[in-house]
């Protein structure tokens, strides 16, 4: 009787084990399939746009003439965002990891994480309704005083809905990403390195310069790369803030466009070949962000292996 129930339960258990491990593995494979599917379906739907005669694509000069300016616009917006966000994010990360009183630090970290919780469309609305209006006098000043630099060439946009405003909004959105990753890395700095530097008479800043930053450099680089990935793909902030147009060098005039915003603004009303063109644009964006993210992840994994952290 006892043996019987044992064997039956074993039989059921073995089947249960097989089913469960199979389901777990299938779920894992499904994720790989989805990522592969993302690439596959984008390529399939993009092919008509890539093979279509040039004059049938918007602009009339083929797909690459259509995509090139908005790729450049995407890069401009992302670079602005990173130039602003990186120093601030590293400062905030250092503040939370090494400057703030220990008891406040986790609470302050949570406050910065709140920045990441705000939906992108709200940032877009804020940028369009508040920031653009408030910042346009500064653009006037830039145009009048630094107008000889091509990126500040006037006349400045009266509404303030420029690529620079969009870049500033993007920088706010990537700030929490760079901050939280750099903070993690800074907190992993070996305590002995820090204490050795302090014991040799280093000031706090010298200790950070000698122990924390060299240790965290790969982490910072990959955090910036991940921030870049986010800035490249962010849609709503740009779609709502930027009054788009042709590619222009000046950052304080209306003009320029990013891939993501171009898709969001045109896809809902698109039909026919236009849909394929936009999906092809999405494919380009996918490839760019995939490359950026893979490099970032590769740096993190490589760093993990010899740092002894984790």
């Amino acid at each position: 009787m006892t043996t019987n129930s044992l064997t039956t339960s074993q039989g059921a258990g073995r089947a249960g084990d097989k089913v469960f491990s199979g389901a777990a593995m299938a779920a894992g494979c499904l994720i790989l399939a989805v990522l592969f599917g993302v690439a596959l379906f984008l390529v399939v739907q993009a092919i008509p746009a890539l093979t279509a005669p040039p004059e049938s694509i918007q602009g009339g000069h083929g797909f690459f003439a259509y995509i090139a300016p908005i790729v450049v616009g995407t890069l401009i917006a992302a670079v602005i965002a990173l130039v602003i966000a990186t120093p601030v994010a590293i400062g905030v990360a250092l503040f939370i990891s090494h400057y703030a009183p220990r008891r406040l630090a986790s609470g302050l970290g949570y406050v910065v994480d709140l920045l990441a919780a705000i939906p992108s469309v709200v940032y877009g609305a804020w940028g369009a309704a508040f920031l653009a209006k408030e910042i346009s006098p500064a653009y006037d000043w830039l145009a009048n005083n630094l107008g000889w630099i091509p990126i500040f060439a006037g006349p400045a946009s009266a509404t303030g809905k420029t690529i620079l405003t969009a870049g500033i909004v993007l920088s706010v959105m990537v700030l929490p990403i760079i901050t939280s990753l750099s903070r993690e890395i800074f907190l992993q700095t070996p305590k002995l390195h820090e204490e050795a530097a302090l014991a040799l008479g280093a000031t706090r800043w010298e200790m950070i310069k000698m122990a924390v930053l060299p240790f965290g450099r790969p982490g910072i680089v990959s955090a910036i790369m991940l921030g870049l990935g986010r800035a490249l793909g962010e849609t709503m902030a740009v779609a709502l803030v930027l009054s788009s147009g042709v590619l222009t060098a000046s950052l304080i005039q209306s003009g320029n466009q990013t891939i993501a915003a171009e898709i969001a603004l045109n896809f809902p009303e698109a039909s026919g070949l236009k849909v394929n063109t936009l999906i092809a644009a999405g494919l380009v964006l996918f490839v760019i962000t995939l490359g950026v993210n893979m490099i970032a992840r590769w740096i993190i994994t490589r760093h993990k292996e010899f740092s002894g952290a984790n």
């Binding site: 777990a24 779920a27 994720i31 503040f95 609305a125 990935g229 993501a260 970032a296």
Partner: protein, 367 residues
């Protein structure tokens, strides 16, 4: 008299600024900043900026004169780091303030949460803007759509994400497949949300037919964004379940799958639940994928599998970009900000809920 005062200063503290130095400099900087701003026209932002610059310059140069260049550099670094933190707070405060100020009038409009935009035309908005008639229309349809789409996305993502994390932690053993999944899950977290939307759209265009736009398509798009978040957080939580628990269970002769479902998951459930809640909070505010997959409706749609569907983020977006009455965008703006306030409250509640869940369902430690 002076001789005693000099003798009282210890050799150890010689050449240092008094502890009150930053406060003195701050007070002076605030006063001088106010004076400068009074000359060129006062505003609070400029006052803060000028005072901060004066404070940094003053403290660093004083420290440089008394304490030497190294200490001065240290103080400069401290000023910059604290300044960076304050700068990071500015947009947060500004965004929340803007949404509150603009959103409350929309939110307190009668029936804002209970009506849809069905039948609300530009004529009503013109009347509201010109004659002061009440602003009609609300976000009921969008709220309903958001809840339906997010629920469906959760139903898809949680089993897949949880099973994947179980595979990675319990069965993976650092096999090539497990390593590939870990890597690609990390890569997937970086997929731009609009590309996820395009994928879902392209997928359904190919399978069902061109132009298919329903709530379910949007849910698939959101799942693509949500699964990696669920996998990452559940994986972390499963990893910290002590191995002793598993071994104790195996020692009692319990099967592996029973061990996982009866021992490992209940131990980690608080972390998993809060991770899922955070993942929901992340996708509930996504706009771009819904925009390209579910279109935008002005009426209530209770069917996720058929017809265009509104959602809070796309409602905000369309109301701002294409006001109901192009000549009088005021009422549309009011509705958009009201919806933005509701959305932010939802996201904050989910974030709070995640923390509460983590605390309430935390495994009892026994001691």
């Amino acid at each position: 008299m002076t001789a005693t005062a000099v003798r009282k200063r210890s050799a150890l503290t010689k050449g240092q600024l008094p502890k009150s130095a930053p406060y003195i400099v701050l007070a002076v900087a605030l006063v001088v900043g106010a004076a400068i701003l009074a000359l060129i026209g006062f505003n609070a932002f400029g006052w803060g900026l000028v005072s901060a610059i004066l404070f940094a310059v003053g403290l660093v140069s004083w420290s440089g004169a008394v304490e030497g260049a190294r200490k001065a550099k240290d103080r400069l670094a401290t000023c910059l780091v604290v300044g960076a933190f304050l700068i990071a707070l500015l947009p947060l405060i500004s965004v929340i303030w803007t949404v509150l100020v603009n959103g409350i009038p929309g939110l307190i409009t009668p029936n804002f949460l209970g009506t849809s935009m069905n039948g609300v035309t530009g004529a009503f908005d013109n009347k509201a803007a010109e004659d002061g008639a009440p602003v009609l229309g609300g976000i009921y349809h969008a709220l309903l759509g958001t809840i339906q789409i997010t629920l469906l996305a959760t139903v898809i993502s949680v089993p897949v994400g949880l099973l994947t994390s179980i595979y990675l932690v319990e069965y993976g053993n650092d096999r090539p497949l497990a390593r590939a999944i870990t890597f690609f899950v990390d890569v997937m977290t970086g997929i731009p949300s609009i590309v996820a939307g395009l994928f879902a759209a392209a997928f359904f265009f190919a399978i069902v037919g061109p132009g298919t736009k329903t709530g379910a398509v949007a849910a698939v798009a959101l799942s693509v964004l949500m699964i990696p978040v669920v996998v990452r957080s559940s994986e972390e939580m499963l990893k910290i379940v002590p191995n002793e628990l598993r071994e104790a269970s195996y020692a009692l002769g319990v099967r592996k799958w029973r061990t996982i479902t009866k021992v490992v998951i209940p131990t980690a459930i608080s972390g998993i639940a809060s991770g899922v809640t955070l993942a929901i909070a992340r996708v509930i505010g996504e706009t771009a994928p819904i925009l390209v997959t579910a279109g935008f409706a002005t009426t209530i749609n209770n069917n996720v599998f058929g017809g265009w569907m509104a959602s809070l983020p796309t409602f905000i977006y369309t109301q701002i970009l294409n006001p109901t009455s192009p000549s009088n965008p005021g009422p549309s703006d009011q509705r958009a900000w009201g919806a933005a306030l509701v959305l932010i409250i939802l996201v904050m509640l989910l974030n709070l809920g995640a923390r509460l869940i983590a605390r309430i369902f935390a495994p009892k430690t026994g001691r």
